[in-house]
């Protein structure tokens, strides 16, 4: 299988403020990419812009999937085309059982031309599949009956996102800090689960601060983001270097991008106040 997700010269603004300033990135099916960078550099913004969040306005550049321009597509069209994002902090949907949510989602993603109101995947068939995926990921079967992310611990939320990825089997997955807030054992489990589900079966873009999540997912490419741009691309060794030594070398090498990054953080703080 060959699929390509191509980001070209992507500029993104949130509430009128420029965050991404010309990002170029090409992901091929079966590849693993790590995306690293200091806080406020625009990593999550890139993910949300690819996923189609309505508040992330693409002011310049394009996103193409297998040569089709999806820059203007709604989030659900992108999901049905095979784009997936595992969120850092997925929202809770009270009253909606995880199994029901996933059944509807899987039906829509597998049958992209399904019209509203048409039948979902038969219940029995779906339950069987969900059960086996949960066993594979070592998730308590009780999970399926709980409301979507409602009262979930940090670890449960991340595993729920990986389960969702498993059920939707997208062409490309963006994993936004799937290690944040987890203890070492939970990170190792998440890393192994991502490899189990995603390695060689999709294109992976793993956003992280640490190399632990990459343990089972050695990246072919590591990209460093600073000030809303990818300033450097290397192999797995670059991820290790950043994990061990931080971003000082990067900041010193790209002072313009660093200045932009500082400015973005300052703005965020002003907004937060």
């Amino acid at each position: 299988m060959s699929h390509t997700l191509k980001i070209e010269n992507l500029h993104v603004s949130v509430e009128g403020k420029a965050i991404l300033r010309g990002v170029n990135l090409t992901l091929n099916y079966g590849e693993t990419h790590a995306l690293m960078g200091p806080n406020g550099s625009g990593k999550s913004t890139l993910g949300l812009a690819i996923a189609g969040h309505p508040n992330y306005e693409i002011t310049e550049g394009s996103i193409t999937l297998d040569g089709v321009d999806i820059t203007e597509w709604e989030a659900d069209q992108r999901a049905r085309a095979g784009i997936f994002m595992a969120f850092q902090r997925p929202v809770a949907i009270p009253g909606v059982k995880t199994a029901d949510f996933l059944r509807h989602a899987a039906t829509n993603v597998r049958r992209p031309d399904r019209k509203e109101g048409e039948d979902l995947i038969p219940m029995r068939e779906f339950r069987k599949e969900l059960k086996s995926k949960m066993e594979q990921l070592k998730i308590d079967p009780e999970f399926a009956r709980r409301y979507v992310n409602d009262g979930f611990s940090g670890g449960e939320m991340k595993r729920s996102e990986i389960l969702t990825m498993a059920m939707l089997s997208p062409k490309f997955s963006i994993l936004d800090e799937t290690d944040s807030g987890l203890d070492a054992d939970a990170v190792r489990l998440a890393s192994a689960s991502i490899a189990e589900i995603g390695k060689d079966k999709m294109g992976l873009l793993i956003i992280t601060h640490h190399d632990k999540l990459l343990e089972h997912n050695p990246p072919q490419y590591t990209h460093v983001m600073l000030g809303g741009r990818i300033v450097e691309t290397g192999g797995a060794e670059l991820a290790r270097e950043l994990h061990d030594h931080g971003y000082e070398r990067i900041r010193a090498t790209y002072p313009d991008a660093d200045a932009a990054n500082q400015q973005m953080i300052a703005k965020e703080e002003t907004i937060a106040v």
Binding site: H53, I93, P94, G95, V96, F101, H104, A105, N108, E116
Partner: protein, 441 residues
């Protein structure tokens, strides 16, 4: 000749001549005619509800013209109307009563229940055939002086439904009532449910107009009387046309160790004003009330609810949830009243509102009035706009915006569905909710 008082101008068919004509066309026993005359005299002395009164200050009656509506007579033949029915799907029933414009047009009840002394059918007919029974209970819980609509209903109730279940008789299957209305019609029906000691029944009531945009007036009453250790499950789905004015007084009296599970769903009508009161009259009485409101366009629904504890060791649990679209509005006023001596009361009330548009408005006014010392009463309310982040999350998983909203709304009502023990009712309500969701974008 004396001049007609202001409040009696513009009554159309509901004026004094109309009332006399109405009475002349009925075949009521004398005690009933007398009760009607007294209530009509009261009606004539009353004004329309004062917009400054607590129950009406958030209601706007300005568009209401009673003279626009026709009146149905018992002696005229009513034909079966083609108005939608939702609660019957997948359910086996023990009996059914249908009405058109507030007049019963068909009555059915399983023979085995008739043999046990169960009565289910036209209230007009049964007030002639079982005068002692009807006289004993009719309008004992509803006070004609409550407001002008109550007085009108006591005076001019057109027909309605009586369910009487004798001592220790248990009706397993639900009984079904369907009220239908023609364009510009009126329905002044009355529901009277009497469960003797140890009796059990389930009643599914629904009302609908011949067209979705239908106009008309409903001015009705409901009285539920639960004897000791009886158990009543009552579900009502109000799905009138979008231009109907709906006025209702609903009362229940729950006896010793009796249980009332009462679900009220409202999707229809232009305007609704429902005054609901449940009285726990003897120790161990329990009531669970669920309210589901889902509004659109310029609908304006008001629910004034009172849960009154007259005796010790009683439980009441009221949960009202509404979802609002467009420029619609809901008002919920809840009150837990605990009488002196009603110790060990366990009272709970909650109202949650979810707004799907910025122009919608939900008012939520909880209240407590406690005259006993040893009680546990809690209340709460929430109101908020649907979270766009939830919609985005669902869309990122392949849901359309429409599907995402329906899912969020269904999830919002789930807590109420969990409290409804009849599966077919849960399904019917789920479908009614899905129909009510607007097309977005």
């Amino acid at each position: 000749m004396s001049a007609v008082a202001d409040q009696n101008v513009g009554l159309g068919k509901f004026d004094r001549h109309g009332f006399d004509d109405f009475l002349a066309k009925r075949i009521d026993p004398t005690w009933l005619s007398d009760a009607r005359k007294a209530a009509y005299a009261e009606f004539e002395t009353m004004g329309w509800p004062n917009p400054r009164s607590e129950n009406w200050m958030r209601s706007d009656l300005r568009g209401f013209r009673i003279e626009k509506y026709s009146i149905a007579h018992e002696t005229e033949t009513q034909t079966k109307l083609d108005a939608p029915v939702h609660l019957l799907e997948g359910v086996e029933i023990a009996g059914s009563v249908r009405s058109a414009n507030g007049i019963v047009i068909s009555e059915e009840l399983d023979e085995s229940l008739k043999a046990k002394g169960v009565l289910f059918g036209s209230l007009s007919r049964l007030s002639r055939e079982k005068p002692e029974l009807v006289k004993k209970y009719l309008h004992t819980l509803i006070d004609s002086s409550a407001d002008r609509f109550a007085a009108l209903q006591v005076a001019m109730w057109s027909d309605g439904y009586l369910l009487y279940v004798p001592r220790n008789v248990i009706i397993e299957k639900p009984l079904h009532i369907h009220a239908s209305m023609t364009e510009g019609g009126s329905d002044l029906s009355h529901t009277l449910v009497i469960l003797e000691e140890g009796a059990e029944a389930t009643v599914l009531t629904e009302c609908s107009s011949v067209t979705e945009q239908g106009s008309g007036m409903f001015c009705g009453g409901v009285e539920l009387i639960l004897g000791a250790r009886s158990n009543l499950r009552d579900v009502s789905l109000q799905d009138w046309g979008q231009k109907v004015w709906h006025f209702a007084h609903k009362r229940a009296s729950v006896g010793q160790d009796a249980t009332l599970q009462w679900t009220l769903a409202a999707m229809g009508s232009r305007f609704a004003q429902v005054d609901q009161q449940v009285e726990m009259v003897a120790p161990g009485a329990r009531s669970f009330v669920n309210g589901v409101m889902f509004t659109r366009d310029r609908q304006h629904l008001t629910y004034n609810t009172i849960q009154r504890h007259c005796a010790p060791h009683c439980t009441s649990d009221f949960l009202y949830k509404s979802v609002l679209q467009d420029r619609s509005r809901t008002v919920w006023r809840g009150m837990i009243k605990v009488d002196e001596g009603a110790d060990k009361t366990d009272g709970y009330q909650r109202n949650d509102n979810l707004m799907l548009s910025d122009a919608a408005r939900a008012d939520s006014i909880p209240g407590l009035e406690i005259k006993a010392d040893d009680v546990r009463c809690t209340h709460g309310s929430t109101s908020g706009r649907v979270d766009e982040e939830l919609i985005f999350y669902a869309r990122s998983r392949g849901f359309t915006r429409q599907e995402a909203i329906l899912m969020i709304v269904t999830g919002f009502f789930q807590q109420i569905f969990d409290r409804i023990t009849i599966e077919s009712v849960r399904e019917a309500l789920g479908k009614a909710i899905a129909r009510q969701v607007r097309q977005y974008e």
